[in-house]
């Protein structure tokens, strides 16, 4: 069966206008937030309900074409690109809030709903949706489910998996199932854990029941200036050891401060600052007031030159700009930005950062760091020009070395961006063949024919194929 027959079948399901197939229409779907990897889909469909998603999946199966769900395409590991000429199932039309149950602190939403829109929708009820990845103004709940997204507030609130109660999804065989429970408790296997962060390889999520959190009584944001990043990391260690769990503990290094201050995101930071620590405290008013003093003490003990408490919402926003504007500010430095993502035990942060910077220097790369210090979640950012083949090769080489350093320190190769195509070959740095094969068993229980977002998560060699001898090779390479 030909591509034109496939497109005709898909148009029969979603309508002429909701199936893109011309090259110029497909181009925006060639890559996601990670521009290093690209793959052209054979078509893009924009279904409007679960039934259409199920019919699209069944049509793809008939044509033997793989498929991949896509939210806003802000992912940073190439998870939303269609390998093997697959069909992209775009969820942007599934963007409604279906129900808000304030009494039980939950909401039912469609996967294409933008993260920040959800919190705005539930704010009148005194509630918010806790996971807030930096891309929250654009990224979707469905994408967050796929990647188990985090953000700056995971230290206290956890990641997406801690805030999803139930899902409706279309399995790779076209069946529609419900997993989880609005109560938050299971009488059966916990399949939510697998599907959340499953990077869209286990099915297409079509409805999400989220847990909402009460807006805290008090929120305070502090900005502390340190002579260097090691001192800032030590202060974070002091804070955690003292038994505090701030809502956020974010560090911005000197190289980032320089870029931010030279950009439209300028937050008025002293340009000679070695590092900035952003602390957000929330909770009961009496507790937050006392915690401010404890943060001041911890920062002072690690030679902070000053600690400012935001006086109002405008100042809080300015403090956060130093952190959230970092990625945008990098755009001034070079045409491309590679945002890395790795996690190490927090106490190892100073030595790991030192080694990460040394790697970049050795490869003659412009590297800056912003990171979720409380979680030990690093984001080394490399500014580069992809048109320079030599520089690109150095970027890739440095990336692998950075991950090796993090794994050697007892860490993980992704804290919130996922594996996608970007890091699939690095999975063996962390897991044994037996560990990966166990993941393949899970995959096979959902998607025995490997048609749902193939070519992601697992190394290209042999994995998952062993679990299913009938399966195709990856990337169209026959076995």
């Amino acid at each position: 069966m030909s591509r034109s027959e496939l497109v005709a079948a898909l148009r029969g399901i979603v309508g002429e206008s909701q199936c893109l197939a011309r090259p110029e229409e497909l181009l925006p779907y060639e890559c996601d937030g990670l521009t290093l990897h690209g793959a052209m889909p054979s078509a893009v469909v924009l279904p409007r309900d679960t039934e259409e998603v199920a019919r699209v999946v069944r049509a793809c199966r008939r044509f033997g074409v793989p498929f991949v769900p896509r939210g806003a395409g802000t992912g940073l590991s190439g998870g939303a690109i269609a390998m093997e000429g697959g069909v992209v199932i775009e969820c942007s039309r599934l963007d409604r809030v279906l129900a808000i149950d304030a009494e039980n602190r939950l909401a039912v939403v469609q996967p294409g709903l933008v993260n920040a829109v959800l919190s705005k929708a539930v704010a009148p009820h005194g509630l918010f949706y806790a996971p807030d990845p930096s891309s929250q103004a654009a990224c979707t709940i469905g994408g967050n489910v796929g990647e188990n997204s985090g953000g700056p507030h995971t230290l206290k609130y956890g990641t997406t998996t801690n805030h999803i109660l139930a899902l409706q999804m279309v399995l790779p065989d076209g069946d529609v199932v419900r997993i989880g429970s609005p109560t938050g408790w299971n009488a059966g296997p916990d399949l939510l854990g697998a599907v959340i962060g499953g990077e869209g390889t286990l099915g297409i999520v079509t409805e999400v029941t989220v847990r909402l959190s009460p807006i805290p009584e008090a929120v305070e944001t502090l900005l502390a200036i340190f002579p260097d990043v090691v001192a800032a990391c030590r202060a974070v260690g002091r804070i955690i050891r003292s038994g505090l769990v701030p809502a956020a503990l974010e560090i911005v290094d000197r190289r980032t401060i320089e870029a931010v201050e030279a950009s439209v995101y300028a937050a008025g930071l002293p340009r000679d600052a070695g590092a900035v620590l952003l602390v957000e405290l929330d909770g009961a008013r009496p507790a937050v007031d006392r915690q401010i003093e404890r943060i001041r003490e911890a920062a002072g003990a690690e030679s902070a030159s000053r600690v400012d408490v935001a006086r109002d919402a405008a100042e809080r926003e300015r403090f956060w700009r130093a952190r959230k504007g970092a990625f945008g500010a990098m755009g001034r430095l070079a045409p491309d930005l590679y945002v890395h993502d790795a996690v190490v035990p927090r106490a190892k942060l100073p030595e790991v950062l030192e080694r990460v910077c040394a790697i970049a220097d050795r490869h003659r790369l412009r590297l800056s760091n912003v990171f979720h210090a409380g979680d030990g979640n690093l984001h080394p950012n490399i500014s580069f020009d992809r048109r320079d083949a030599d520089e690109l090769a150095r970027v890739i080489a440095a990336g692998r070395e950075i991950l090796e350093v993090c794994v050697a320190a007892g860490g993980a190769i992704s804290g919130e961006h996922g594996i996608g195509v970007e890091k699939r070959e690095y999975m063996k740095l962390v897991y044994s063949d037996a560990d990966l094969e166990a993941m393949c068993r899970l995959r096979a229980a959902f998607d025995p024919d490997l048609v749902c977002n193939p070519g992601k998560v697992f190394p290209t060699t042999r994995f998952c194929i062993e679990a299913n001898p009938k399966a195709r090779g990856y990337d169209g390479v026959p076995l």
Partner: protein, 427 residues
Amino acid sequence: MSALAPADLDALRRAAGEAAVDASAAREIDGAKLHATVTPGDADALARTVAALAERSIGCVIAGGGTRLALGNPPRDARILLSTRGLSGVLELDAEEGVARIQAGTPLATARTAVEEAGWELPFDPPGARTTLGGVLASGAVGPRHLGYGRPRDLVLGLDVVLGDGVATRCGGRVVKNVTGYDLMKLHVGACGAFGVISAAWLRLRPRPESERLFAATLPDTPDAIPRAIAAARVPTVRACVLIDARIAPAVEPRRAPALGWLLLVECAGDEAAVARDALRFASELGAEETAGGALARARALQGETFGSVGLRFRLAVLPSRLREVARELHGAGAALLVHPGSGLVHARIALDAETDGAGLDRAWLAARTAAQGGAGHVVLESAPGWAKAVRDVFGDPSDEWRLARSLKSRFDPASVLNAGRFVGGI
């Protein structure tokens, strides 16, 4: 199920070690006969033991402290009791980071002591004095403090698991944020050992609270009793909130237990000033008085009890807003309730009249299912005599998840030797 052949015992002795196999005392679980206990001394021996079981198709029941052996459908083949008690001890405790790697057979009490000595809190408090970490994780059991601690699934950072064919695997890691591949941890937590035997876990610990205080109040049996309890549970410093039927409350607070209505226990933990403020609030709004911490321990124990050896205990999970109707339905069936109003968990005890009270069992199930459906949740029969468990699936009504569970079982435990028959749908 046939007995064990001498060759089977020899194979197990080769796998686990001579001293690890005890065939001297036979026992029964839900009518299934156990012929020997195998207690591997380390994770490698555990993997070899499971491989031997799979190779010879010998079913096992997995046990830690044995606290929750009653949970699950009657086993299909329980010739071996596979004990994790040989895998005991805290392997690593990072006091800087607040994470610990603990072996599955470690008694929770032992782990708690080690964690507290390092200045942290172990965030698990299920009932059962002998309970082990592995048992808590495999059963997903929670105690009153789950309101503050969170669910076990949310506290596990990494797991070592031996799959049903004896393959030793690791998932997750030691860091608090990790999306490196699938999250298999949550699949094993609460799966009653259906997909693997947990041998060790990396856990996230909690800071020890500056202040901990327990309050007790009585609530009359009026329509606003449960909404008031829910409101109390949602006060930010509340770590545990338990609502106990007057009928069983004397076991918790002999002096305060009301004749009718409910006993409410509220535990606050955290910042001293915030806890003090909430104490005033509970005193004025609920007439609550401060009480000794022993009351919470007694409530925890009560949560795990039944009315005698033939009694039933259901666990329902419902939406908090439906708790009133759920309680009414269960009370109508003669149940005594222990409710966690903040999270919608209800432990319902129902007495049966006789050894084989089939009609009483049917009535109890009908009420429990009606209540669970009305609460948009589900019900599990957590404890019951063996005959009562053979009548219907103790995990309640089938869901889409059961079909996927069957598919997972065939891949994670192809010979079906791990707790065979015990989990949902008899997998």
